[in-house]
């Protein structure tokens, strides 16, 4: 629709964003209804594709994922109107909006499709649309490289999914999700293979740790509102796919739960460590996405352990925590990416070490970013806490009530999740502190300006969402009921009972939050009252008694993270290039740190290099000599003829 309209860029932006918003509003209503009543809506149309049927269905699980998808799509679209204005006139924005709409459409159909062929087509539509969005600034070499890495990664994932669906189709003789869910795969051997295929295939999209390489490349390359959408909701389609796949595979053996918890711990721990070591704000956020995918996966792992051991408390709290974290992560990660986008838009850089002191120049963005940062660290007054609390609670309860094989991974999870939470706080203290506090570190900041209202509004809505989810935590957790019932097949009463176990402590937290906010407001008022008739001086932040302070005396991103990156040095492999000060009157000294991605360096580069070498040998066959080509054909044909007449 967008492409058909006039070539005036202003129109493109408004039409593109408008159509996404309209779609989101009209899509949210039925999703909300389904969540409320637990009903299921279906639409089947004949479709002339082999094995295909245009069969979409809205059940509570789809609705749960659909809501944040649509909300974040609409908000990012509104944001994009302002964000893309910088390119107006230099670049036709039509294609960008066209692919944005396609991406939203693709994600919706991925969530709704109930036929394997339709699902895969939507999956590919999503991948292709996002590829074109990532390569928006395709004139830059680094962006093109990032685009290709993403393209290859997503297609490798799809290859596994193709095998997964074909095997399932062969096992059950149908391509219909509802048939698969009813029949399931009862035998263990194929189920194990299918589980592994699904984990690799969907895990590539979600960004499980060894498969995550495309995230830190693609997210920085994409325009910020697209990064927000991709990181906030698109990678969650991988989680959705995994959950949907689990409903086909019958009762899981214990090791599936262990496996997911192990993946979650690896992704979470290494994700947050790498995030801590980054200098690029968007790369930092990308690694943080890997971390949170890890946390969600831990929740799913706890749930799976619960299904295997028939312990409803694990099922409800594990899956519930994971699902809630999906929504929460969509909110705060979307918010943070939009915030970084505003910083990038205002100052023109996303290097943490070039920024500083933005709080005064961009107060709205800073406030929104602060809320996002607190939420993403899982601190109590905000929404990130609620979902992590559910997972903690589930792991504790399960660990206490069961023994041996189940309890050990659960306690490891508790310890790991606590460590991850602590590191996340450090990571986002660094991000917020270096970027928004202190003094400007470079010229970039000097002409930084606050974002326009189309960009501020979505950030504020998302920030409000983060606060509201915590304030209404009991209600939100209660609304998980229908999803959990339909997904796990537990009795409503059992789900209620177990959710209540989480709701009662949460109510205290909410009360505490409300008290805290009231106290904070009172203190602010008190301070204002006390200072009313006095002279208030403002001064340079990092004075510290020096007569000639310079911004270069401040902490940098590297020095702030140094104690932690040194502690985890063996895992991170941070490289330092130091030229220390020499002599009695040292002239210059330099320090440069960088943290390359270990799986990219140690696994993918050698493997792909070897594959490339190996395949290059095939090029000898393609030498451009017509005679030999004919010879190939002739020899093949004659050999076949002789073979047949033998």
């Amino acid at each position: 629709m967008v492409l058909l309209l006039s070539r005036v860029d202003r129109d493109f932006s408004w039409v593109g964003a408008g159509s996404v918003v309209i779609a989101a509003v009209s899509g949210c209503l039925p999703a909300f209804g389904v969540l409320l009543h637990g009903s299921v809506e279906q639409l089947r149309l004949p479709w002339s594709v082999p094995f295909g049927e245009f069969f979409i269905e809205l059940d509570p699980l789809s609705a749960w994922f659909l809501m944040p998808t649509l909300v974040l799509s609409a908000l990012s679209a509104i944001y994009g109107v302002g964000y893309l204005r910088a390119w107006q006139g230099r670049r036709s924005l039509g294609p960008s909006w066209f692919f944005y709409c396609l991406l939203v459409l693709g994600m919706m159909f991925v969530l709704l499709a109930r036929n394997a062929v339709l699902f895969l087509m939507a999956w590919e539509l999503m991948a292709l649309a996002s590829f074109f969005l990532v390569t928006f600034e395709h004139e830059r070499e680094s962006v093109r490289k990032a685009g290709w890495i993403y393209f290859v990664a997503t297609h490798l994932g799809t290859a596994f999914l193709l095998v997964f669906f074909l095997l399932l189709g062969r096992e059950t003789g149908s391509m219909d999700f509802t048939v698969w869910a009813e029949k399931g795969v009862r035998t263990h051997g194929p189920a194990n293979v299918l589980f592994l295929l699904a984990v690799i295939g969907f895990g590539t999209k979600a960004g499980f740790m060894p498969l995550h390489v495309w995230l830190p490349e693609a997210h920085p390359a994409a325009p910020s509102h697209v990064s927000a959408l991709m990181s906030g909701v698109m990678i969650k389609t991988g989680i959705y796919g995994l959950l949907r796949a689990l409903t086909f595979l019958g009762v899981p053996p214990l090791w599936w739960g262990w496996g997911l918890i192990a993946i979650g711990l690896t992704s979470g721990g290494l994700g947050v460590l790498f995030a801590l070591a980054q200098h690029d704000l968007k790369r930092l956020l990308a690694y943080s996405s890997v971390e949170h995918i890890g946390i969600i996966t831990m929740g799913l792992g706890v749930g799976l352990l619960g299904v295997s051991t028939d312990s409803p408390v694990l099922v409800v709290l594990g899956f519930g925590g994971g699902l809630l974290h999906v929504v929460n992560h969509a909110l705060f990660k979307g918010l943070l990416f939009l915030g970084v986008g505003a910083v990038l838009h205002g100052s023109g850089t996303r290097e943490i070490d070039h920024l500083g002191g933005l709080l005064k120049r961009m107060p709205w963005t800073a406030a929104a970013f602060l809320i996002g940062a607190v939420a993403i660290s899982g601190l109590p007054p905000l929404n990130g806490f609620v979902s992590e609390f559910l997972i903690f609670l589930g792991a504790f309860q399960g660990g206490v009530s069961t023994g041996g094989a189940v309890a050990v991974p659960l306690f490891m999870l508790v310890a790991g999740l606590a460590l991850i939470g602590g590191l996340a706080v450090a990571c986002f203290t660094k991000a917020f502190g270096i970027v928004f506090l202190g003094e400007p570190r470079s010229e970039h900041v000097a002409h930084a300006h606050e974002a326009e209202w189309t960009m501020r509004l979505p950030m504020l809505i998302l920030a409000a969402g983060c606060i509201l989810i915590c304030l209404f935590a009991p209600v939100v957790v209660g609304s998980l009921k229908t999803v959990l019932e339909s997904m796990t097949g537990l009795q409503p009463l059992v789900v209620d009972e177990n959710l209540a176990a989480a709701i009662s402590p949460l109510s205290f937290v909410v009360l505490g939050t409300a008290l805290f906010l009231a106290l904070l407001a009172a203190l602010v008022l008190l301070r204002r009252h006390l200072l009313e008739h006095r002279r208030v001086e403002t001064d340079v932040t990092w004075r510290c008694g020096y007569a000639q302070p310079t911004p270069r005396m401040q902490y940098t991103a590297s020095s702030f993270a140094q104690p932690l990156t040194d502690l985890f040095g063996p895992l991170l492999g941070t490289r330092k290039i130091i030229s220390p000060p020499r002599g009695l009157f040292p002239a210059e000294a330099a320090l440069k740190t960088m943290t390359p991605d270990f799986s990219h360096e140690a696994v993918y580069r050698p493997v792909f290099g070897r594959v490339h070498e190996w395949l290059s040998q095939l090029q000898r066959l393609q030498h451009g000599k017509v005679q030999l080509y004919v010879l190939y054909i002739a020899v093949t044909l004659i050999a076949l003829l002789v073979w047949e007449l033998r």
């Binding site: 000599k625 017509v626 005679q627 030999l628």
Partner: protein, 212 residues
């Protein structure tokens, strides 16, 4: 009797092609082969001679005996070449390989489960032999004219096969095959001319410089 004579002549002309370096004589040999094969359907279906076969024979003879040689001679003149020099496979070796191919053709012809008509014990082997020789010429020679000749010989083989094996080959299909061959030779003649003008030679092995 006449059929067998023609088929033996076809086999001999094929061997002559393998052993000849002069492009002009090769073109004449292929033309002669084409004329003989054009007469073949009349001789095979001598009892049920009809306008259909006569028209087909006339068309084939005109095309293969007159038009193709004329096009190819023109191309030769324009490219100013007369001989194949330094082929990939030498002429003696070529003839030896040709003999091996002939043996293979007879062996394959004996085993091929086709319902040949009564007089045609030689038909299938010679058809296969023509196809092999055509392919061999394409593979083993460098001059573009020889490639075209190889293609024509291969087409002759397919034609022989069709005449002998499928008695009631639809008229339209035969015309189609003929048209195909005509277009192919026409295009290749023009291509040879242009390749020559562009690169000052018509050696196919040097076309790999065009590869990306």
């Amino acid at each position: 009797m006449m059929t067998d004579l023609i088929l033996v002549l076809v086999v001999l002309t094929n061997l002559k092609l393998l052993g000849s370096s002069r492009l002009g004589s090769s073109i004449r040999v292929v033309a002669a082969q084409g004329v003989m094969l054009g007469l073949l359907p009349i001789l095979v279906h001598v009892h049920e001679l009809s306008l259909h076969f006569a028209a087909l024979a006339a068309g084939t003879v005109a095309l293969k005996g007159v038009v193709f040689p004329w096009l190819l001679f023109r191309a030769l003149r324009e490219a100013e070449v007369t001989r194949e020099v330094e082929p990939y496979v030498g002429y003696i070796t070529s003839i030896l390989i040709g003999l091996a191919a002939l043996a293979t053709s007879f062996w394959l012809g004996g085993r091929l489960p086709v319902s040949t008509g009564e007089p045609a014990s030689l038909l299938v082997p010679s058809a296969l032999f023509s196809i092999f020789v055509g392919l061999f010429l394409i593979v083993a020679r460098k001059r573009a004219v020889n490639q075209v000749l190889g293609f024509l010989v291969m087409e002759n083989g397919i034609y022989t096969f069709g005449v002998g094996v499928v008695a009631e080959l639809p008229f339209l299909v035969e015309l189609g095959v003929l048209l195909d061959a005509f277009v192919a030779v026409f295009v290749m003649g023009i291509a040879i001319y242009h390749i020559n003008r562009e690169f000052d030679h018509i050696e196919v092995n040097r076309l790999d410089q065009l590869k990306g």
